[in-house]
Symmetry: C2
Subunit: 178 residues, 2 copies
């Protein structure tokens, strides 16, 4: 998918609505991808993001060691791949191959972008203070990519056990909120 | 709105899809409410939630002092009130009165539930380690309330400057994910 460089000041608009994302890392045995819903914006610019990655996940140790990842945002047409990646461990499976995902080299980190996702955020881990107690990693987005789109993309939003809400219509209200 | 006690094990299903929420606190000058999108689940049960509250917000000091709040989840019919609360400071305005919101006493905390919201989560602050550096509060949900509903409620999801995505259709895929 043809993505353009996105100004870092706009990154919060992608993550604030709470889409399911696919997190890639570059491990010793190659790239891996996991499905993740537990993330939030922490600051606008530079964009700081917090996320929770279970210490039972294969990604956990890789992220702790490499301190780099890419947050990729899929749309509803990828729902089966998203669920598949969430139900499979990277410890034994090459999930890029199994789910026909195309890794594309990133510009600032070793973890790959996922070509099929409409947006990809290259991140560096900047704080691990809360990893031991809560599995919370603090990331800084150092480079952002997004495919041009006129309407809000059909992101998916997990509400448990494989049930997802698909992004619906959009509304605009006069607001001074950023 | 008639809400029932919701098992704490189900709380993650409400927050994981990333809805805009309205956070209430009980301050020295009465209850206050602010609009918030920067939150994430941290653990399932007991439900632990992280959220970011700017130190420029009136709620910041109140939450730090009282260590109690309620996360209320509005639906699209309340969008104007949600934006209004986001654009007004509680330092000079009684937002419950100004936006015709009905406070209802909570059971475990002093901050009120908002009657018009379909779900309300009574929370206690359990960790302030990351407040100084990132404005991140760690909350534990101690009591949860939700109105019975057959379909996923029409939550709103902010993507910047008063633009919101409204929850659309739902899809279900076979999954081992929680």
């Amino acid at each position: 998918m043809k993505k353009r460089n996105l100004p870092l000041s706009r990154v919060y608009r992608l993550l604030e609505p709470g889409p399911v994302v696919m997190l890639t890392t570059a491990g010793l045995k190659g790239a891996n991808v996991m499905t993740m819903s537990w993330h939030m914006m922490v600051d606008f610019e530079p964009p700081i993001v917090a996320c929770v990655i279970s210490n039972r996940d294969y990604t956990f140790e890789t992220l702790r060691r490499t301190r780099e990842c890419v947050i990729n945002i899929p749309t509803v047409n990828m729902a089966r791949k998203v669920v598949g990646c969430g139900n499979t461990s990277g410890s034994k499976t090459d999930k890029f191959k199994k789910f026909c995902l195309t890794p594309v080299p990133a510009s600032e980190v070793k973890a790959p972008l996922i070509d099929e996702c409409y947006a990809s955020l290259e991140c560096k881990v900047i704080d691990t203070t809360m990893v031991e107690k809560y599995n919370i990693f603090i990331l800084e987005v150092v480079k952002a990519w997004a495919a041009p789109h006129r309407t809000y993309p059909s992101t998916i939003h997990h509400f448990g056990r494989g049930n997802f809400m698909v992004a619906g219509r959009t509304i605009s209200l006069p607001s001074r909120m950023k």
